[in-house]
Structures are given as C-alpha cells and as structure tokens.
C-alpha cells in the first residue's frame, strides 16, 4: 500500500501531465514536421511522425511563389498601427480615470465595461456597414480602425488597472511640492509604467497579428491581405497545402510564441482584464 502511494501516485500524475502535454504541444510539433515534409506525403492512411526526406522546399516556395512577403509587410503595418494608435489614444485617459476625481467617472467606467462586453464578432457587423458607407472596406486603414475599436477600450482598462497599483502618495507628494499634473504624468507615472506599457503594446500587437475574422471580412484584395487571411485562403474544403501553410505558420508564429511564453508572467494581469473580448 505504501509502495503504491510512493510510486503509483507520482506515476499517475506524470501520466496525466504527459497527456496534457501531448494536447498542448503536439499541434505545434505537427506544424513543424509538416513544414519540412515534401509534397503531399502528409495525406497518408498510416501514421508517420517525421518526414523521411526533410526539405526546405516549402519555405522557398512561400517566399518566392506566393505573395507571402507582402502579407507579412501588411500584417506588420496593421499591427504596429493598431498598437501605436491604441497606446497613444488611451494613456492620458487611463491616467485621468485612475487619478482624477470628476463627475461622470463611474458612468464612463461602466460604459467602457459595456463596450468591452459587446463581442467583437457582433460589433463587426455595424463596423462593416459604416466602413462600407464611407468606402473603407478593402482598405488596410479600415481594418486598423476596426482593430482600434477593440484596442482603445482594452488599453484603457489595462493601463488604468496598472496605474491604480502605483502608490498614490508618489504623485500626490509631487503635486504638493508644486509639480503640475502634466509633470506628474510624464515624469512619474509613465516612467514607472514602462513594463505595463510594453506588455499592453505587445498584447495589442499580437491581437492584430493573429486576427482572422475581421480581416477576412474587411480585406478584399490579395495584395492587401494580412498573413492570417492570406494563409487561410491557400486552403479549401478539399485540399490543404499543408507544407506551405505549415512553413508560413512557423515563420509568423514562432517569434511571437517565443515572446508570449517568455513574457507570460507579465501577461497574466492583461489576460484577465482584457480577455473578455471574444
């Protein structure tokens, strides 16, 4: 009995963890092996975990034969645009919500919460109709506007949450000593918030970088596609060019995955505050 609990329980726990690990990591492994697999050898009735003759052909193909480099550039532009505009647009507002006392503050917070609770898929419908009216459907600028509708609220919540954790005595003491509100914001709050600003920026960048739904509706022309739309367009119900899809997926997602996993401790607060959006 005692032997059982000394050896058996840890063994069971390891078994369970390994099962969870397979679920978590096998899809990633699958993409990696598919990227190096020649031709259509994935379409087989028997299991094969690693290609017999690994090749880099898929990488050369996506880089030279399809507009993948262009999609990368579009994604980069849209994501950086969303990130920068989101942060600049929200920082001072978040500061006011965290520190100032004013009428209508609770109203503003509840309104922000309500907007946050409106699922982005549903918000996409009026956004699409408005952009259609002003002729911005199909333009990357319209897509950035659509992403901003999520980004501003998200960044405001996130930054306000962080500003709240900075001790009030700090800037209140500075104000006593005759520094202006603007100086308190620029010289005290912002420098102390660099990690939070960086994480919020990165989360915003990642959201835009990985977003498929809005981009698939708002982008019409292959030359304006972002990576997710372009990649998803490579396949149809009958055929998935796995090699190309996997090679491209590795290029776009390995760097951001590394960033995400490396910084995941800092993401925790951000994920719980802003994660309500679908």
């Amino acid at each position: 009995m005692r032997v059982l609990s000394r050896v058996g329980v840890p063994a069971l726990i390891y078994l369970f963890l390994i099962a969870m690990l397979i679920f978590a990591v096998f899809p990633v492994f699958f993409v990696i092996q598919a990227a190096f697999r020649p031709g259509q050898s994935l379409y087989s009735l028997t299991l094969s975990l690693w290609p017999d003759k690994p090749t880099l052909d898929n990488f050369t193909y996506i880089w030279t034969q399809i507009p993948f480099p262009l999609w990368l550039r579009n994604s980069l532009g849209v994501s950086v645009g969303t990130m920068v505009a989101g942060l600049i647009g929200s920082a001072t507002g978040a500061y006011a919500l965290s520190r100032f006392r004013f009428a209508g503050k609770q109203m503003t917070l509840i309104l922000l919460l309500a907007i946050q609770a409106f699922p982005s898929v549903l918000a996409l419908i009026p956004i699409y109709l408005i952009l259609k009216t002003i002729g911005l459907v199909g333009s990357p600028f319209g897509l950035v506007l659509a992403y901003m509708s999520i980004a501003l609220v998200f960044c405001t919540w996130n930054l306000k949450g962080y500003f709240d954790t900075i001790p009030r005595d700090l800037d209140e003491a500075a104000l006593m000593d005759g520094c202006t509100v603007g100086q308190a914001f620029w010289r005290i709050i912002l420098p102390l918030s660099v990690p939070a600003l960086a994480v919020t920026a990165l989360l915003m960048f990642l959201t835009a970088w990985n977003e498929w739904v809005m981009a698939s509706v708002l982008l019409l022309d292959e030359n304006t596609y972002t990576v997710p739309v372009g990649l998803w367009g490579l396949q149809n119900d009958y055929r998935v060019p796995w090699g190309y899809f996997a090679a491209a997926s590795l290029i776009v997602s390995l760097p951001v995955m590394a960033l995400f996993l490396g910084l995941q401790r800092y993401f925790r607060a951000g994920l719980t505050v802003g994660g309500v959006k679908g």
């Binding site: 969870m20 609770a117 408005i130 509100v181 914001f185 990985n210 498929w212 996993l261 309500v276 679908g278």
Partner: protein, 289 residues
Amino acid sequence: MYRVRALTTLSYLSPMIIGVGLISLYPILYNVYISVTNQNLYHFRHYTFVGLTNYQSLLKTVDGDFFIVLLRTFLFVAICIPLFLGLGMLTALALNHPAIRFKAFWRVALIVPWAVPSYITALVWKFFFNGEFGTFNQLYRLVAGPHAGLPWLSDPNWAFASIVLLGALQSIPTDLYEAAAVDGATAWRQFWRITIPLLRPAILPATVLSAILTFNTLNTAYLITTGGPFISAAKPGATEFVMVYAFREAFQLFNFGYIAAFAVVIFFMLFGVTLGSLRFSGLVREEAR
C-alpha cells in the same frame, strides 16, 4: 485621487473619449439602429424602418433559430465549464505535487496553446479530425483494423462532442497553475478544506472569464466545421454556436437587420453576466469609492 480643473480633466480624457465614442460606441449605437430596419442583401441601400419586426421574428417561436442556437451554446458552455475547471484544477494540483520535477518546464509547456494563433490551431485540429487522413483515425486504425474510422466531424453528435472537447481543452484557465503553486496542496482532506477555499478567489473570475470566452467561440467552431454538419438547410448546424450563427447570417446570408437585433439581445445577456460577476468580486464597488 485629486481634483483638477474641469478643463484639465477634459483634455486628458478627450483622446480616449473621442476615439472610443467614434469607433467603439458609435458602431454599437448604429447596430441598435440597424436592428429596427430591414437592411439585408435585397435592401442594402434602400432599407426602411420596420419597428420591432426583427425582434419579433427572433423571439416569436420557441423552436426558432434564436432559441436553438442559444440553447446549444448554453449546453456547450455547461459541458465545457466542469471539463475545463476539472482539468485545470487537476493540472494545477499535479504541478504542485512534491514528486514532480522541472515544474517551470511543465508550467510553460502547458500554456503553449494560449500562444498559438487560433486560425493555425483550428486548421491543425481539422486535420486531426479528418475522416480519412486524420491523425485520430490513423491511430484508431492501428487497433480497429485498416478500414475502420470514426465520424469525428461528419456525424452531428460526434462533431458536437469533438468541438466540446477541443473547446474545453482550449479554455482551461491557466491562472490556476500559478495560484495553486502559492497555496500548496497535498493530501485529499487538505485539498477540500484548505486548497479549494484558498483558490476560490482565483477560480471564480477565471471561470466566468473562460465561460464568456467559450460562449463567444467563433474560430474553433467556424474554421473547423463552419457550424455543421447541417441536417437541413433551414435549421442551424450541429456546432452552430451563437457567434458562428451571427457570422454566417451576417456575412454569408447578409441578413443585417435581423442579426443586429440578435446582437442587441445577446449583448444584454453578456453585459449582465459581466456586471454581475464584477459586482460579485467587489470590483465595481471599489471603483465607486
């Protein structure tokens, strides 16, 4: 908290307020307006005011699309919650067992799914579930013979179960992994008497959040099954959850007015849940001070 001149407050708030007002709030209000018009594919430019007709057609019959889709989504969430919560708790406890080595490795490896873009995950799982070439059936053939195969996505009940399993695995609240590590958990009695009560503040918000995320599932279901399999063209498919239904109605069938009304109803439900859970955890009261 300090008082500043109204002008200062206004100048600090205005970039955010103007931005949010124009690109977040205005579309939502515009959505309410569309919901009382008949805008659709045939009346795209010349639509007219139709009052509450859309809301009526949404709610008039109990076996209408709205209730089918809503109930199916509730069922989906209701099965997913105990699954992801149970798996999450088990993992958190396992990670904290004294016999387990390399805890940092496990912790990072197990949150990998959160880092993979969902459109990639969706395509990979679609392939795993593929009847002919999918990994699951390749494995199944090892035990059941060369011509066997399970209808992972082609049978309505199987497809629902497959998406439930995937949805639950994907929405495990990983915050629990860290929370359990701080609190410590070993024996069974300690688990119920000490660990669970200690974890409650971490479990509740994480559960609500994961439940809302699951309710809002679009990519996992739409990209893998497009809401199907469909038994009849007039009824929603077996995995056509709320957001999948909204997306298909809006961007494949172009029933804008109808789906705008749908959005308004769904929004009030979600906002109610959000507000309720926040009030419960004391966040709103704290803000009111």
